[in-house]
């Protein structure tokens, strides 16, 4: 599906490194899973390449639920990237 807009959120160390807490994105054609979205963001280079690198330990949530790389994306989704959690 093309023409799908999603909201991207970044937290904690990621938010600081990227200098961004939130953005709206029109999903490019072919970006239909979390994993592909991550690779797409890494392609922005600089801090993006570093933080989104496959070797980097990163967690992601789709619509506020922890999700794996093969999670499908659709219009209106809220997608969040963040480091492993450290609460409690």
């Amino acid at each position: 599906m093309s023409g799908a807009t999603v909201t991207l959120l970044y937290f904690a160390r990621l938010r600081e490194s990227l200098g961004l807490a939130r953005e709206e994105m029109l999903l490019p054609a072919g970006v239909q899973t979390l994993q592909v979205l991550r690779a797409h963001l890494a392609a922005r280079g600089g801090a993006w390449a570093e933080e989104m690198a496959p070797a980097r330990k990163l967690r992601a949530a789709v619509n506020q639920t922890l999700a794996q790389g093969d999670a499908p994306l659709k219009a209106g989704d809220e997608v969040a990237f963040f480091p492993p959690v450290t609460g409690g």
């Binding site: 937290f11 639920t65 963040f82 480091p83 450290t86 609460g87």
Partner: protein, 150 residues
């Protein structure tokens, strides 16, 4: 069942009293209080800030409590987690579980804490003499949560 994310401190006794009020089936109350320590990974900690993901935090802790209720006989459960700026000896988190029997209360309380540590979207940034740093997740926390998968 109740989940609260707040900057303000909490009053454990008042929370336990409110939970017990009018429920004579409660025979066992297990609780856990997490406190900011003055040292982490060998460095002195003077302050920390706790960031979270509003919305997902409440949702994920609610899901953790639901899992606990599916495994043990839980009459009531409460999680309060603070966010914002905290200093050593400040309280961070409170988990209270009320059951008829103590085995259920202990297990559910520890289960909730172990899952909260690995699944609830909170992040700590601490200030040490070397400057501010994001706290790294611990493998021991993943192992603690992993124990419950059986």
């Amino acid at each position: 069942m109740s989940v609260r994310i707040q900057e303000a401190d909490f009053d454990t006794a008042a929370e336990i009293a409110a939970m017990r009020r009018g429920n004579p089936k409660i025979g066992a109350i297990a609780s856990f209080i997490g406190v900011v320590r003055d040292i982490n990974d060998g460095d002195a900690v003077s302050m920390m800030t706790l960031e979270h993901y509003p919305g997902m935090t409440e949702r994920s802790i609610g899901a953790i409590i639901d899992q606990a209720r599916g495994r043990w006989e839980v009459l009531d459960a409460l999680v309060i987690h603070r966010v914002g700026t905290l200093k050593p000896t400040d309280q961070i988190v409170l988990v209270v579980v009320a059951c008829s029997h103590r085995g259920d209360a202990f297990a559910a309380c520890e289960f909730i804490m172990d899952y909260l540590k690995t699944q609830a979207p909170f992040w700590k940034k601490e200030v040490t003499p070397q400057g501010a740093r994001w706290v790294d997740a611990r493998a021991s926390d993943d192992e603690a949560a992993g124990r419950w998968r059986n």
